[in-house]
């Protein structure tokens, strides 16, 4: 007994918490298993009866989880892309080619002290990053990632997107005000002015597209663009896509419109006083925002998950592995071996200095790559959602790269220039776009 109490007293506070929580978790897990075993069928029935709700909850969870790898990939692209433009090497220490850098950034933030300045309003200060993060993540719910792969197919999807996306300014203002720091205050007010100003051209630039599509459901807009790439709305709304992308860049506070966190002027803007994971949420939200504006640009103007060309011939893969009988076993056993040897032979022939085992290793690697490619191609043909997601992500990351490129190249605009640009150029241009589109629709329909 004394041993236990002595060990207990030597534990730190987190240790004590963990030692208390782990048995509780184990007990809860066991209870859950029991409940599922005993009440399995009623639960399944209940779930099946409320399928839309289950689907929504699942989609929300998946979207929330999806932001983590997205932020990591975008963060890594930014680190490596800007390094490439700066003629640097960039991250190359953790993971192959530094790919785990963003993960370690995240871990670093988790381990940092979560600091609240003494003059701050703790409640507002704590909730501000949550609101900024949630505002950007919730917009992902309406984006169609593939045929049938969307959180919710709202009739007013686009309106929902702008409404929720505009909420992030509330979080920024909260952060700016609650931090009790003049830099933060300036950053928060800049964010408010900027985001609200650019909201107008952003929304107006897609009104022409809405007139063309006749719907505000993002899923329907994507379906309208199926077929050849000439059916994409970018060719019918060339001015609209330019205005939209510029305004969306400003909405996401990206260079050259990153005045809210202008490090050479107001240190870090509204995030100046933040540290630890609270800063991490801002950081996360920024990277997720980059992906979101790319994804929305792709969805609206570049065909979404549609391939740029329709598959020229209808393909149906009818694979019945059971029909092969014992042949399946032979296939699985023999084909990899055969492929390895086939791919090894060229290496073996090419140079007498390459030893046999080296050729075999190279053949093994190549055979694996070949098989992976084969499986991928098969999935691409067989499942339309695989093709859809592949095209969607490819197109989205092209725009993510464009944003990284802009960050590496452009300096920052000034506050008055920013406002001038929104009100004197983008707004008239988007009105012109709307007018021309509406007139064209009237002329064509008559």
């Amino acid at each position: 007994m004394t041993v236990i109490s002595r060990s207990w007293s030597r534990l730190t506070l987190p240790g004590k918490v963990i030692f208390t929580v782990i048995p509780i978790l184990i007990a809860l897990t066991a209870a859950l298993v029991v409940v599922i075993v005993v009440l399995g069928q009623p639960i399944l029935d209940a779930l099946a009866a409320n399928l839309p709700i289950v689907r929504f909850a699942l989609a929300a969870t998946i979207v929330l989880l999806m932001t983590i790898p997205t932020a990591f990939i975008v963060g890594y692209m930014e680190l490596k892309g800007i390094a490439f433009m700066n003629l640097r090497i960039g991250p190359d220490r953790v993971g192959p080619y530094g790919t785990l850098m963003s993960v370690f950034h995240g871990l670093k933030m988790l381990m940092k002290e979560d600091f609240t300045p003494s003059g701050a309003d703790p409640l507002v200060f704590t909730w501000a990053p949550v609101i900024v993060y949630l505002a950007s993540v919730m917009t992902l719910l309406v984006i169609p990632f593939g045929p049938g792969l969307f959180g919710q197919d709202l009739n007013l999807g686009l309106l929902y997107f702008f409404a929720i996306g505009g909420l992030s300014v509330v979080g920024m203002l909260m952060a700016g005000w609650a931090s009790f720091n003049k830099y933060s205050l300036l950053g928060g007010l800049r964010a408010a002015a900027q985001v609200i100003s650019y909201e107008i051209p952003l929304t107006l630039s897609v009104v022409g597209l809405i007139l063309l599509a006749g719907t505000m459901s993002l899923n329907q807009i994507v379906l309208n663009q199926s077929g050849w790439f000439t059916d994409w709305y970018v060719f019918r709304q060339p001015l609209g896509v330019v205005i939209f992308f510029i305004a969306a860049t400003a909405e996401a506070n990206r260079t050259p419109f990153d005045l809210t966190e202008a490090d050479s002027e107001i240190v870090a803007g509204y995030a100046t006083e933040y540290s630890g994971m609270r800063f991490g949420f801002f950081y996360f939200a920024e990277f997720v925002n980059v992906f979101i504006i790319s994804a929305l640009t792709v969805t609206l103007f570049f065909g979404g998950w549609n391939a740029p060309f329709p598959w020229p011939w209808p393909v149906t893969l009818s694979l019945d592995p059971g029909g092969l009988g014992i042949g399946l076993l032979l296939l699985v056993a023999i084909v990899p071996l055969l492929l390895t040897i086939v791919f090894a032979i060229p290496f073996w022939i090419a140079s007498s200095r390459i030893k046999t085992w080296q050729a075999l290793v190279a053949g093994f690697v190549l055979a694996n790559l070949f098989l992976i490619g084969l499986v991928g191609a098969g999935a691409y043909i067989a499942f339309d959602w695989v093709a859809g997601v592949a095209w969607f992500l490819l197109k989205s990351y092209v725009f993510v790269f464009l944003l990284v490129w802009m960050r590496g190249t452009l300096p920052r605009v000034r506050v008055d220039q920013l406002m001038d640009f929104a009100w004197k150029w983008l707004l008239p241009a988007s009105l012109l776009n709307l007018f021309v589109t509406a007139a064209a629709i009237v002329v064509v329909s008559q």
Binding site: I82, M85, N86, L87, R88, G119, F180, K182, Y183, L186, R190, T255, P256, D258, L259, A262, D263, S264, E265, I266, V267, R407, G408, T409, L410, P411, R412, V413, R414, V415, D416, Q417
Partner: protein, 404 residues
Amino acid sequence: MTTTSAPSDDPRIELDRDLGVFEPVPPYPPRTEREAEFYTLGDGQMFINVGPQHPSTHGVLRVVLKIDGEKVVDLDPVLGYLHRGVEKLCENADYHQAICYTDPLEYVSSLFTEWSPVIAFEKLMDVQVPRRAEYIRVLSSELNRIASHALFLGWMALDLGGLTPILWSFIERDEIVDMLAALTGQRMLFNYFRIGGVNGDLNHEFMSRLGDWMSRAAEQIEAGNGLLNENEIFVRRMRGLGTIDAKTALRMVMTGPNLRASGVPFDVRRAHPYSVFPELEFDIPTRSEGDCLARYLLRMDEIKQSLRIIDQCLHQMPDGPVMAKLPRLMRPRPGRAYAAIEGPRGQLSTYAISDGTDQPFRMRIHDPSFIHLQSVGLMMPGHLIADTMAVMASLDPIMGGVDK
């Protein structure tokens, strides 16, 4: 409520109610000079303290901005965070040792801060410098000028939010600094110039690096500038910003590129020639606008002229010794000497008084960065917070020189 017996404007009484944290002006009379500034705040104005630890103040400059929204109403540079007492240190060292104290004044162009005391001491001692040494001085210092201007370009872009130019210009600077390291043995604080010459003759590594670099320098610098010169955002932000006309610039004792950008073709190398500059051919670029863009473009023109000078130096370099024959311990006659040179930031001059001992009795260093900072207050009012950084960057102050 009990009333206090002391008069309410007594600065020593502590008010019994809590001070509201959001009140910009404390509800009691000012107790210090700094506190008194708060009483000058108008409606809706506030002070914001930029520096001494801030991403874009070029070291440890502290600027107190009085802002009205985004607009800068007034500006007060607070100096002294890097004060090391260099002049006093020099007065307690002998003439050779004094030179190395002046090195870290302008730490991105150390050869120039060495050069002006060296000339002053040579004047005190009536030393004749060998011509080869003079040519080497010109050659190495013009290289250093290019490095300094290249760094200026990068910092300027960084203060405007551009991430890339700083690293591109560091490539230029690294190449130059590496070849100067081959010549002098140091990358940053060279301590190369000596009274009566230079520390060592040109060597093979320096010459091969220099030849390699000279063959591509012009195009390389041009390519690096393209990122900014043709950038609409950059040009729009810099044009018409922090304008200062020739008359005001002269009144504020500006020199160097900042003065020439206002249209005054004053260059110490031509106006009061020293070393072998009379024998060299180069133009003095000037611009008439006097804004930040002019200051930036003028420095880029100066890089081209420096390349011309380096080219001529290499062709006209005579043979001979690089050091005059001098006694080890030098006691100049009592007297005073003044020497001015054209540094990358303007006129850098030294005034030295000798009392007949082996140490300077008094040494005064005139640094252009310090002089230029005083005109920030003239340029800024009416501009925005973001412009503060741009204007200060365009003046190119080095805090080592400002605080001495």
